[in-house]
């Protein structure tokens, strides 16, 4: 449990004169459920964008399992083992549910297939397609989406779209999963269900999970450690209970 998976060092980015994220130091251990909370505009999603290579940090760097990933492209970072979901759902809307997951499986080494092999439909193509489909079904089963696999992603209800996005991210076989408000727009029953799924995938896939969430019940029920951000800087860090009861944090959320 003590192995550090993600480590950020003085991570920061400024847009012009605005320091959107400044000096963020986070250490996440293996199989940990780590929360990133803060008021709107605190820079939580920006941290995610930094960690996935959407933005390049202006200061500091971050390491995954000791390997420096700063400066790599989104694709490279994904190959190294960081996958994410989006705050505003970004599914492949015009593709079926299973195909969304299949796109996630695209880069797995066991499903490597040269484009020219597919172009000529050599036996390898069929073998890979079949194996990918089986794997995708297994992943969908965890999220209870197997029966809907042939529906278009855009026709799913909101809660299931969120789950599908996690399933798709999981298909890329990440070591670290970044969930951006996974419970947003879900009813209490769905939230409960999601918490169980998150715990389950962490154990089954040996995952480390960093999540952004506004639902404090969700955060305190799931995460053992959190970081509270406000105006791009770290306000409090540590055990969930302690950090949430920090007077500074309460002040930032509900004022004095």
């Amino acid at each position: 449990m003590s192995e550090v998976v993600l480590k950020t060092e003085n991570l920061g980015i400024s847009f012009g004169g605005l320091k959107a994220v400044d000096n963020v130091n986070i250490e996440i251990k293996r199989k940990q459920l780590y929360g990133l909370v803060g008021p709107n505009g605190a820079g939580k999603t920006t941290v995610f964008n930094l960690l996935t290579g959407v933005y390049q940090p202006t200061t500091g760097c971050f390491y995954l399992n000791g390997e420096k990933l700063t400066g790599k492209t989104q694709e490279q970072i994904n190959h190294k083992g960081i996958a994410r979901t989006f705050q505003n759902i970004r599914l492949f809307n015009n593709m079926s549910v299973i195909r969304n997951v299949l796109v996630g499986l695209h880069n797995q080494p066991e499903f490597k297939c040269n484009p020219f092999v597919s172009l000529l439909r050599l036996p390898r193509h069929f073998k890979v397609e079949k194996a990918m489909r089986e794997r995708a079904k297994e992943i969908l089963r965890i999220f209870d989406l197997e029966d809907e696999r042939n529906n278009l992603a855009c026709n799913l209800p909101y809660g299931k779209q969120r789950k599908l996005e996690i399933a798709r991210a999981l298909a890329t076989n990440p070591k670290l999963l970044l969930l951006d408000e996974p419970a947003a727009g879900m009813n209490p029953h769905e939230t409960e269900d999601l918490m169980n799924i998150i715990r389950r995938i962490r154990d089954e896939f040996d995952l480390t999970i960093l999540l952004i969430e506004h639902d404090m019940k969700f955060v305190s029920g799931l995460c053992d450690e959190i970081t509270v951000l406000n105006f791009g800087t770290v306000l409090a860090q540590g055990k969930t209970e302690d950090a949430l009861n920090d007077p500074e944090v309460i002040k930032a959320y509900i004022g004095e």
Partner: protein, 383 residues
Amino acid sequence: MAKLKRIKISDYFCYLIVGAVMIGSFIVAQTGNLPRSYSNLLVQVAYSIILAVSLNLVVGFLGELSLGHAGFMCVGAYMGSYLAMQLSAVVDNKLIVLIVSMLAGGLLAAFFGLLVGLPALRLKGDYLAIVTLAFGEIVRTIFKNMSVFGKAMGLSTQSIKYDTRQDTSLYLVSFATVLVVLFLVQNLVRSKHGRAITAIRDNEIAAKAMGINVTFYKLFVFVIAAFFAGMAGVIYGHYTTPVLYSFFSYNYSIEILVMVVLGGMASINGSIIAAALITFINFQLQSHLSGDLAALKYLIYALILIVLVIFNNAPKLAPIKDKVSPKAMFEKIRAHKRKPGDIRGDKSDWRVIPTKIRMDEVLSVDLQQGNDYTPDKPNKGGN
């Protein structure tokens, strides 16, 4: 797995229709009744299909607007034909010359595709369209000014041209090429790589986050499309003489795009039918309108296009369309095989129409800047 192996007629529709035309006309030709003009038309249809299907890869599946497809055809036509002329001096067999030059012309066009694609595919939407448009114009101007290719007189391909009065085999070779192109394109779009390509079209940001190598796939599709366009160019070079720069104008690129749009984005069957239809209309107008009436060609052509587009899109005409379209018939056959809840088989949804490019937006002046793109929901949710 039974589902995977189930053969759907609509998936093989394109081979069936192309094969049927090919065999049908071959039989007619054997009886000696195939008019010369029709074997000409068939060659035109064949290279139009190759062009439309390959452009559909870029526009319909990848979702990038390319207006320089005729430019790639131009490369193939000039360079491939030139090579064929050199080759025919050494090799006697006409077929081998054609096939070799087709491959070479395709490869050269693909090389140009790579050359243009590397810088251009960093651009998005309208900007890419402008760069590809410029490419098409630049290429044909270069060929126009090279003395090897006959300058403004064009490259005379008399020595390799198939004379349709004696030898009608060019349309057979062309149609065989169409079948090969269709086979490759269908395989590509139905593979994991096709999925990656449609994922890029659907949501580029998410595709990147899923580790899809967006640059590679964009380039790959661009190069493959250029390759096929080059092959079409070589067929053109064998069909007519001289190969003239003015044929590969901006208008021709647009005509190919019209075939794609009319047939439906990301619909290969549609592209085939639209390419055949438009070529046929053009051919008929050209042969029936002579003298002063020739000026009417574009007017009638435009009217036919407008009627077709309205027929395709008008909601009130939808019931009529549902009755006559082959797609509706396939749906009917499939409908009672389907379990409730299934919208469509997961194998078949590579045919889904919506695309990043909405033509009315591309063609209209007041583009809304900065709006996050949200794709249209497909209007075929139910049956």
